[in-house]
Symmetry: C2
Subunit: 155 residues, 2 copies
DNA sequence: CTTCGTGCAAAAGCTTTGCAATGCG
DNA sequence: CGCATTGCAAAGCTTTTGCACGAAG
C-alpha cells in the first residue's frame, strides 16, 4: 500500500451503523454517511454532493438520505441564522447538557447537538468557540410551565 | 372612547424609534414595527402580513422592512430547526449573557436574542421554557482561538 | 425638488413530490 | 421475488431582484 492517506473505502463503520439500526445498506447511504463522518465541519446538501466524487448522487436522494439519517439519529441538523441548513454526523452516544427546572428541580439531559446552532451563531458573530460540557440551563419544565406554555420569556 | 382595548393607532412609539435611528417614517414601517411589538410571539413574514389589516403590504416590502429593521437593531431573527424564519421586536436596551474565555478570562456580553433559537429548539423539543439572565458560556475568544478557528468543538 | 421607498412582475434558490426503473435482502 | 430506494422531471414555497411610480423630507 502506498503512503497516501486514503485507505480503500470499504465503509466498515458505516455498514455497521446502518446494520445497527436495522436498515438497508445502499451505496448512497454508505457514501453520505462516510462523507459526513469525514467532514471537518457541518455540510450543506450541495457541499455534501460535491464531496461525493466516486459516484454522483442525485440531490433528491441526498435530501432523502439526510432525512432518513436524521430520523435514525445518525445526523444532527444545524440551522444558522443566515445561510443554509447544515448537517453533521452524530455519534450515537455523546456529550450532553442539562435543563434544570426552577420550580420542581427536575434535571433533563439533552444531546450536545442542541447547542449546535448557538455555537454557529456565536462563532459567526463573535469569533467565539464554545467549549462546554454539562451546561446548566435554568427554566421551567414541561409540567411546571403548563399555565404559560413556550413563551419567549427571559428571567 | 369605548371600553375596547384598541386605542387609536397614532404610532407614537414607532415614530420615535424610527426617528431615533434617523430613518424615514413610512406607513409600512410604522405598521410593521407596531405589529411586531404587539405580537405575543415571533412572527413569520406572512403571519406578519396577515396581522396588517389596515393596509395590505406587499410581501416584498415586508421582507425589505424586516431586513431594514434588523440592520438597525430593532428586530431579532429566530431560526428554528424546522420551519420558517421568525422575527420579533427587539428592545434597544435589553438583557444579556456572557461569553467567558477559558484561556484569557475575557468576558464578552452578548444580547439575549442570541439565545432565541436555542429557546425555540428547547421549547419545541422538550417543552422547556428557558428562563435565564447572565448565562455564562465558556469557550475560547476570537483572539485565543486563532490557531483553531470556529471548530464545532465541545470540551 | 431630490432621494428613498414601494408595488408589481418575474426570477432565483432550495427542497419536496410523483412515478417508473433499479437494487437490496 | 417482493418491497424499499433511487433517479429524473417537474412542482412548490419562500425570498430576492429590476424597474417605474409615488411618497418623504
Amino acid at each position: 500500500m502506498p503512503l497516501h492517506q486514503t485507505p480503500p473505502p470499504d465503509y466498515e463503520v458505516e455498514r455497521a451503523l446502518l446494520r445497527q439500526i436495522g436498515q438497508r445498506i445502499t451505496a448512497q447511504r454508505l457514501q453520505i454517511l462516510h462523507a459526513l463522518r469525514a467532514a471537518e465541519r457541518p455540510l450543506t446538501a450541495d457541499e455534501l454532493a460535491a464531496a461525493l466524487h466516486p459516484l454522483p448522487i442525485d440531490p433528491t436522494t441526498i435530501y432523502r438520505v439526510l432525512h432518513f439519517l436524521y430520523e435514525h439519529g445518525l445526523v444532527a441538523q444545524l440551522t444558522p441564522e443566515q445561510g443554509r441548513q447544515r448537517y453533521k454526523y452524530r455519534d450515537p452516544d455523546d456529550l450532553h447538557h442539562h435543563l434544570v427546572c426552577l420550580r420542581c428541580g427536575s434535571d433533563m439531559q439533552i444531546p450536545d447537538e442542541s447547542l449546535d446552532t448557538l455555537r454557529e451563531t456565536l462563532c459567526a458573530r463573535y469569533g467565539f468557540t464554545v467549549k462546554v460540557n454539562h451546561l446548566m440551563i435554568p427554566g421551567l419544565c414541561a409540567t411546571c410551565r403548563t399555565q404559560s406554555p413556550c413563551q419567549q420569556t427571559t428571567a
